[in-house]
Amino acid sequence: MFGLVGRAVESLYYVCVGLWTVAKHTGRAPITKEFPDTMPDLPGAFRGRLALAVNPETSEHLCISCRQCERVCPDKCIDITAHKSPETGKLELIDFKIDHGLCMFCGLCTEVCPTTCIINTNDFEMSDYSREALIYDLKKLTLTQDESAHYFSKKYLPIPKPKPKPAPKPAAAAAKPADGVAAPAKPAPPAAKPAEGAAAAKSAPAATDKPAGDAAATKPTAEKKADDSKDSEKEKAAPEPSAAEGKAEPDKTEG
Amino acid sequence: MLSKSNLQSLLFLAVAVGITLLFLTGQVGGVLSGAGLPAYKADLFAFLAIVSVAVVSLAFGGNKTMIMIGGTVTAFIVLTAFQDSMVRYMTLGAIFFAIGAYGMVASRNAVRMLMSIELMINAANINFVTFSRAVDPEHLGGQLFAIFVLTVAAAEAAVGLAIVLAIYRNMATVDMEKFNLLKW
């Protein structure tokens, strides 16, 4: 009997403690973030909308059209159009499309990207009125220099080394004879260089002239032909827009 | 839309309501006195007329439920319209009692039987309260009796339903037809 009463009093006491604990919270400022008014302070690792970064220092486009992101994407939402420039022999990016309606924001593409070009931004407001509007093209995807700098610093990414400027012509000349096959023995082939820069990001800038005999450079060669033929097919199918893009893009990346 | 049986029963309803209206306006009494019969028995004649029309339309295959409900309501109005208020209440009690008796005899489900018993008990309660109002308004003996009836009915419902549940647990049915263990 007394045990029962004691337990009743005890449980009542704990109920009162609970009530008082909750009631004390009335005296606190609300922790609610009112979203459209105040944007949430998201961490750098947040996986939001995909975007293509430019070099935050030189503002050159980081994509090297290596198609690794396209291959790794489980949803097949990335679609890269590139062709081999006849002058330089390098791959030139014509269009880069990501269907955000398909994307599941797994972040695998950002993992494999050798140049840290494709990144997850903190932007998550992508709602639109049609599914077609969710397919972002190169223009929509490419970040400005300031935005790139912001995300590079936020994600603690190393700043990639700029592409060597004074070497367009020799590189083009060198690339012409060796059309289909990459030249691993040649010193500093420009096509492989940005990849090198990303892979060896922490090495000193002096190491740029290292010969590109690594796996990063040699592996893509096997698939290059197939890619090229695919690209030419695509160009045939839709020549005009891609040509326009191709014209527009180099200007943008240069400037 | 209207099936034949529904049409039959609607026809019956119209006739019954007509008889009731004739009775309420005093026409039936006039007819009776014209025929040399005592006019104060007009309500019984109207009642018999309604019953016979009901039987005829039942024989022609009318909707039974509609005919029974309509017949009872009109017969009730005919039988009580010119009576004392006390007789009115007690006639309603008698109707509840009769319906309860019908349910008790005819229903197969044990729980429905219990519900019919509750209906009969309530019919008795109406009578008690009516007597209390009309005969004994100072001492309220009828109301007190009704209160005790309420108590006993509550106890009866609890025990009865417990028995029904126990039977259901043993025999997996509440059908009265199947409770034939005590045959001989």
Binding site: - | L92, A101, N109, V111, R112, N122, L140, Q143, L150, L165
Partner: protein
Amino acid sequence: MEGFPQLTTWAQANVEQAVFYLLAVIAIPLAYGVVCDRNIIRSGFLLIGVFSTIAGLFILLSAQFLALAQIMIYGVGITLVVVIALMLTNPKAEKESMPALSIHKGPAIFVACFLFMCVYLALRSAENWPVKTDVAALSAAENLSRIGQSLLTNYSFHFEFASILLLAALIGAVMLAKAEPAVHDLNELSANEDKLKSSERADDVVKV
């Protein structure tokens, strides 16, 4: 309705009869529904309607306390218990079949009509009811206090006896409705307990 003398007299003169017939016309179909509806759970709910209209009749008979008790005990308490009992048994089994066997219907109708005619003819033939038409009904407050006083003076024995009856009914209902596990159930139960113990032991081993 104190404070509205004119309204009260008007209502007594005109409304009472109309309300009585309204309640009767509602109640009779509901009562038929209780005994005839194919769906027995619906007839359980209709029973609530019947009891509520009877509570209305009690108010017309100026038995306010009884009307409220009727709503509280009958209309809600008993009927809900009935409905729950219906749901605990298998109402679907009855839903398909007829509510009554046709072999029972004829005698049942005869019994019902006979009972009704007996009561009604008795009512009609009795000439000398000791009716006190001149006495006004007690007011609600007086009614209440009169009932309370009677229950604790003249009817105190009945009152106590009713409480004993209720207690006995409560215990009896609990005993009847309590499920006694059958023998094979008991076996299963002990087997389960064994399993439970062994699994607990297994947990202990894992923890260690």
